[in-house]
Amino acid sequence: MIPVTTSGPFTHKANSVQNVMATVLLALLPATALNMYLFGWPAIFLFAVTIGSCVAVEAGCLMLYGRPVKETLSDNTAVLTGWLMAASLPPWAPWWLGLLGAVFAIAMAKHAFGGVGQNVFNPAMVGRTVLLVSFPVVMTAWVAPHPLFSANAPGFADAIAITFGGHLPDTMSAASALGYVKTELSRGIPVTQSMTQVPDLMDMALGYRAGSLGETSALLILAGGLFLMYKRIISWHIPVSVIGSLFLMGTIFHAADPARYTSGMFHVMSGATFLGAFFIATDYVTSPVSKMGQLVFGAGVGLLAWTIRTYAGYPEGMAFAVLLMNSLTPIIDQYTRPRIFGRSRKGEPLPLAKEKA
């Protein structure tokens, strides 16, 4: 008469994967909406195509594996992957970039490993990285902001040509700040001089600058991240350690040689720092589970991102840094397990302290 099945507990926190993911999407919304406005219709099309492709590929993979499609799709993880990947694409990139990225992100990086929760690497970043490595020209075709309905913004029809016809207007390309500084440095122009040409930090914080589809506004991303912290979806450990180590590296080296190295503040405000720190490095599946491990992980991400930005062939290193640290997550997890109650770190029972009567 009364169902008896498992052990307790017989009360649960009212949460679910679906809600968690939906909250993350909500947190991303303001920053993305601003960029939709700044980059206009082509950005909106690309955004829709990318998310749509991710959901479609997810559905396809689920069917192939014979898993329940509707239930799994409703957990919103595919939407989040699509959203984060779209946020890292150049706003006026062609549609096939989103589709191809979705195949790599969902089919290769997620379902080949066993689906939700099993992937080693952050799917969105795998998608972005594959695209960046494979199509460096298209993936670095940044445009300056052209706010919707402003005079020189592409209209609906132009936008269709840009996204679906691949007609990127030549004159509109612009360099991202990180890319510009790196380019100038290679010409022998010191950072101190090229920095005068990049948008000032305030513009960068607000988001009125060239950059990816969803990450130009550091402030709105930060707001979203703080919202997630407030909602206890993420803890401070990863964001603080990512930004902290990046800032620290930038500041130390900038102090040593301002002509060669950009400042810590510049590193923090530019590129995908905030998106990476709050939304990508904090991805549950691919980051360590313990708080200690998360600190190690975040510090590693910041350090690698700085190194890649400063010395490697790509101006932006967040995605690579996160992926590299993803591969270390199992090891970090192994070495940062919490101490078991009543046991030493090595797992031996604690010694009994001598009582003073």
Partner: protein
Amino acid sequence: MKLFPVRGGIHPDYRKEQTSEKAIVAMPLPAALYIPLQQHIGAPAEALVQAGDVVKKGQKIGRNQGAVSATQHAPTSGRIASVTEVPAPHPSGLPTLTIVIEPDGKDEWAELPAPIADPFAADMQTINARVAESGIVGMGGAAFPSAIKLNLGTQKKLHTLLLNGAECEPFLTCDDRVMREHADEVIDGARIMAHALGVPNIVIGIEDNKPQAADIMRKAASAFANIQIAVVPVQYPMGSEKHLVQAITGKETPARMLTADLGIVVHNVATARAVHHAVRFGRPLIARVVTVSGGALREPRNVEVAIGTKISDLVEFCGGFAQRPERVVNGGPMMGQPLPSLDAPVVKGTSGILALTAEEISDRPTSACIRCGTCVTICPCGLSPVEMSSFIRKDNLEVAAKLGVMDCISCGSCSWVCPSHIPLVHYFNYAKGMLNAQTRDQRKNERIKTLVEARTIRIEKAAEAKKAALAAKKPAAAAAPAAPATTTEEKANA
């Protein structure tokens, strides 16, 4: 009082308001009482009565057997209807041997043991004997025979009796009410127990969400300098004895040891009251306060109920179900056990009977783990449920054991918090059961091995003795007496 932080923990919906302001009411005797011979950890009691016998209230009807066991008493006067198998209040629903009493309505007391006039002048053994004789077990839910715990003073160097009034489980308010309405009895019981243990200090731990209880207890204890009230933060599972000890003393009980190794013995507040009754009045444990609550119940309340009352009768007393309960739980919602049937009786360890609605349970189908790590963060034992469960799912129990699954206290925090609603505790209980069985098997095999070895040695010795005998005596005469000797010995050890 200075408190110490305790790792992890959760803050479930307490829902204690359903019963916390309802005074304890005594339930009239039902038509029949069902007293299982095993209501405690350890060996079942041995029945002292048979069908047709007439018993008086408080008369001993089951005798404890072995070192860890408890006696049973008749909760009222009446006739023994039968000694038969009845479903136990256990998730398995397996029947256990139970004495069924039909009350005669007179509720006549048997001749009780004489009250111990001045318990503080009596020696430990006297008090312990009285507690054992009164069938008192831990009333927080574990139902461990209390006399054994009171005896720890003879084995360990103790300094404090910690009275557990944390009552961290949601819904439950029986300890809260006992403290509020019977503070003097609880304090007196605690003092008697401290005396029996030979400890100078008494600390009473009460969670911060029971301010009235804390106030009343503080007032009741004000006359005694050695009693302190510790108001501990609301943080499930504060009522776990090792965690309560840590919160109050800052000391962490080493794995595989008892809080007694730190010099602290923990007893439940209701147990203290039962000790008070047993020592001061000679009354055995025949009734207890049970919280009957849950959204599916018409009239949630705290009921003082005779041991052996059928849960269906108890539910009836509380107005029956307002709606079909999604699940009926024996104990708290976190660590309690699902009841297979309302035919099971209330036993000494029953702290609550909860008829929960789907909304209160708030369960969903299990989905894939997303490694959010919340279970790691909140685990009060510092374990990694996410990792342990993935190994258990692959039936890799050795690794799970290495990760510390045996140190899990099954508090349920991880399952409660899991966004994927993975039944983690269920996995761990399974693993613990399997690992325990393995250890038992191993021990058994080792025992058999030693026995076999001993036997081989014996046979060899016998053979040698025979040889020696043969060598000494004449061959034909020696064979006869040696052979039967070996056979009997073998039989005895078979």
